[in-house]
Amino acid sequence: MVAVLGGFLLIFLLFHMSANLLILLNDGGAAYSAFCNFMGKTIAIRVMEVVLFGALLLHAVVALWLAATNRMSRPVGYHKPQKSKTHTTSKLMMWSGILIFVCLIMHFYDFYMVKIGLVKGEYMVKTEKLQDEEMSGIMQLANQMQMTPSDLVAAMKEEMATMGGDDEEADNYIESITAKIKVMDIVNNAYTNGNISADKKWIHRLNAEEKAVIKEAFPDSDVEPDFYYMARKKFKVWHIVLGYLVFFAVLFVHLTHAFPSAFQTLGLNNYKYNRAIEICGKIYTWVVCLGFAVIPIVIFLSE
């Protein structure tokens, strides 16, 4: 049970790690954002998310239950500590597992809770969802006059006031597009600050207020968490980087035993393949842990 669920988690980790490496691409987040968008939208992936959480919890619960019953098998312990030659990591499985759980709480606080809306983070939105005729008209005019959209509207309003006359109609019109004008300001700012992905498909680094504004003006725009910039921001702080490196070190200890152990428990080995399984396990563990660790390190050093 522990082995089967653990095997599933091993596959997930490899997948998660390779996806995360997209963050290191120097494309302003285009590839990673597109990937996150795909992950957020696909029904199969949403279902897998539930399965994954179930597997993780079950893996932990069954393992703890096993550890408890195993402990009961020796009610009176030895006076002298054991000196047999054993795989040290195998004796640390429970403790490394508990540590991984603690680290996962940190990880969820940083990223997953933003996704389900419990914690505020940074957000991103697809540019194509923010386009309509009114928007592009005012945007073009603002660009020509080299003003921000809200300044432009304010100026127009002022002009109308000096001209006098019955401007109630104009006021009403301006009122009706206030929300959109705010969005235009946000878009404009994103362009001037360079918070736009290389392929111009995504506007990045929106805060929670901006998210609310966009949601109001364009209800079907799907503002998503901006994991690309959140990661880049978090990994500039040394203690977060250190926290994650400790996480990966503990993960390394856990996986070192986990990979060959899963094969042993399922009986999927024999004299012929044991060496191969051992080598594959080592490669897997190093690749996954280094792959994860390289992201915070590179981001931290590049800033």
Binding site: M72, P75, H79, K80, H87, Q264, L268, N269, N270
Partner: protein, 252 residues
């Protein structure tokens, strides 16, 4: 050689035990660990100091599986591939402190001092470690229709003497190496293959029932086994356990 011994003394199964300290002198480096204990007992009885220290032993040549002491944190002491009776005092240095404890496991209750009741192993064997029909005398090796390597594997597994060092070494007091060895030595040969899946199920169910722990792949058993039974026997046991779930329909 001179040693300071700390030995677990326990009046009976229900009494509370404790460590007793004994000094012993004039030990030859060539004598075995059990001979050293014999010498101690003579000293204890001769000088009327205490009752002799009880410990299990029989053949004293490493084939019966009776002896077994947890010496300085290792079952059968500080040597590989030997039983306690084959452990020589030259493996220690003069003046060493030696801690001697009985096997510790829920399924192996202490009877007295260093003697434990290992009948749990017999119960596991009774649950399936046999072949139900008479298979006749020993056939010529080349008349058994199996390749040499299978015969070798069965023979290696059959080396298990049931001493219980695997249980004593395991942090979970698991008997998986013992059961794995028995299942392999019977199940790999054609005579035992017919009942193989039932044997696997019955022996494992019995093992759990008797209060042995589960395997968490630490491999202390393999490191401490005096007959160096391999962990691959545990993998085989796991494999056949999964196999028996789907392998044979007992109804119908």
């Amino acid at each position: 050689m001179h040693f300071t011994l700390h030995i677990w003394r326990q009046e009976n199964a229900h009494a509370k035990g404790h460590f007793e300290k004994y000094e012993i002198d004039n030990i030859s480096p060539d004598c075995s660990f059990l001979e050293m204990l014999d010498q101690l007992n003579e000293q204890l009885v001769g000088d009327k100091i205490a009752h002799p220290v009880c410990f299990d032993n029989d053949c004293r040549e490493g084939i019966c599986g009776m002896c077994g002491l947890y010496i300085n944190g290792r079952p059968h002491g500080n040597d590989d591939g030997v039983t306690t009776c084959q452990l020589h005092m030259r493996k220690f240095t003069d003046g060493d402190e030696i801690w001697i404890e009985p096997w510790r496991a829920k399924a192996f209750p202490v009877v007295r001092d260093l003697v434990v009741d290992r009948s749990a192993f017999d119960k596991i064997i009774q649950a399936g470690g046999y072949i139900s029909v008479t298979t006749g005398g020993v056939p010529d090796a080349n008349t058994i229709p199996i390749p040499k390597y299978v015969a070798d594997q069965a023979m290696d597994a059959a080396e298990c003497i049931g001493c219980g060092a695997c249980v004593a070494a395991c942090k979970n007091a698991s008997a998986m190496l013992f059961v794995g060895a028995k299942v392999s030595h019977l199940g790999l040969l054609p005579q035992g293959q017919v009942e193989h899946l039932d044997r696997v199920r019955n022996m494992i169910v019995k093992m759990d029932e008797l209060g042995f722990g589960g395997c968490t792949n630490t491999y202390a058993c393999e490191a401490e086994c005096p007959k160096q039974i391999k962990r691959q026997n545990i993998a085989r046991l796991n494999r056949e356990w999964i196999g028996q779930m789907f392998g044979r329909d007992r109804k119908n």
